[in-house]
């Protein structure tokens, strides 16, 4: 037997175990993403050499280091422009952008706005652990109101940022929210998102057992995992209004937007062919 785990063929096994803390949800997201890619490769709708990963800075963006695909670890928040450039030059590529809430919602917030406005053909996976994990548990734009973090010792006074509403408002082709506590559902969303043209945005509610859970009173990763699982509400066809979350109300997961509009790559090549009189590929 040459393979230890069924997913080892997609992993740089010399880098495993990962740098993530024990019980971190990122490993689950990576496994789920690889299973979704595996399903697409097995049924022949995606070629292995055409899959590319891009990530910025943060724990989540370190995910680009482990899968055995073409991958790039670029500057903070700028994974989307990088992936978009790859996609325009090589339209056959399927670029997957992974990033945390700090990388994609805070620092790269401007880039995600314009990628969605253009309907760039990317799969953006935003792992929302509700905190800045790598730098020590500071308050993030996605932290629910009232929660303790290291920079808000009396509770977070700010409103939480809802990326589902933002992406849906700007016109992404596919918007879904999954959770690491329901990895089978998340796999379905990622599988569907991989087959979409235009921008597919999947938000994943995740855990940070060390700097989020431990600070708010959950001593082990299992405690935080079970607490998040209790607060998840699964809905088949949720409306965008329902996507607002808070620690008390919980998190609605499901597919919020599913439409089929031409992506940026198609539009730009069509445009180029019109000006140059055809022949641009």
């Amino acid at each position: 037997m040459a393979v230890a785990h069924p997913l080892d063929k997609y992993l740089r096994t010399d880098r495993i175990p990962t740098m993530w803390c024990p019980g971190c949800g990122l490993g689950i997201v990576m496994g789920t993403l690889l299973r979704a890619v595996d399903r697409r490769i097995k049924e022949g709708s995606l070629k292995r050499e055409n899959v590319g990963f891009a990530g910025g800075i943060g724990c989540t963006a370190r995910m680009t280091l482990y899968p055995l695909f073409d991958s790039a670890h670029v500057i903070h928040g700028r994974a989307i422009p990088f992936a978009l450039a790859v996609k325009i030059v090589k339209p056959e590529m399927k670029m997957i952008v992974v990033g945390g809430d700090g990388d994609l919602a805070a620092i790269g917030g401007n880039h995600i706005l314009h990628a969605i406005r253009r309907n760039a053909d990317l799969l953006v996976v935003m792992v929302n652990n509700m905190i800045y994990g790598m730098t020590g548990g500071q308050v993030a734009p996605t932290t629910p109101r009232g929660l303790y973090t290291t920079t808000t010792p009396y509770g977070n006074p700010e409103r939480e940022m809802n990326m589902i509403k933002l992406t849906a408002a700007l016109g992404a082709n596919y918007v879904a929210r999954g959770s690491i506590t329901h990895p089978q559902l998340l796999e379905q969303y990622l599988y569907k998102a991989l087959g979409k043209r235009g921008l597919a945005f999947v938000e994943v509610i995740s855990t940070c057992p060390e700097l989020f859970g431990r600070h708010i009173g959950f001593r082990s990763p299992v405690d935080l995992y079970m607490e998040i699982r209790k607060r998840i509400v699964i809905k088949a066809k949720p409306s965008i209004e329902e996507s607002d979350y808070s620690w008390e109300k919980g998190f609605v997961i499901g597919e919020f937007v599913d439409r089929d509009e031409p992506g940026f790559t198609d539009t730009i090549y069509e445009y180029l062919n019109k000006i140059r009189g055809g022949g641009v590929q």
């Binding site: 230890a4 990962t18 024990p22 689950i28 796999e187 299992v222 995992y225």
Partner: protein, 84 residues
């Protein structure tokens, strides 16, 4: 035998094989918590990195739901369907 000498425990369960790769386990306990039939439990032996890896306490109870496989963040456990 696995990748580059990684040891692999292959435990015959009822209709399945529970495969545990001890040196990848980080002792987070998620697989133990998500198992609906309480097959897995905390071990007492330590692996290369000093974590007490998970063991199959009641392998005959396994129903092959693969919740542990899906929820393992470190690719340390997986279920195979055995021939029986």
């Amino acid at each position: 035998m696995g990748v580059r000498g990684l040891s692999q425990l292959r435990i015959a369960a009822n209709k399945y094989f529970i495969n545990i790769i001890p040196d990848r386990c980080k002792e987070c306990g998620l697989c133990i918590a998500v198992c609906p039939t309480k097959v897995l439990g905390r071990g007492s032996e330590r692996n290369l990195r000093g974590f007490r890896y998970v063991v199959a306490l009641n392998p005959e109870k396994c129903i092959g739901c693969r919740n542990c496989e899906y929820n393992c963040p470190d690719f340390a456990i997986f279920i195979e369907v055995g021939a029986k």
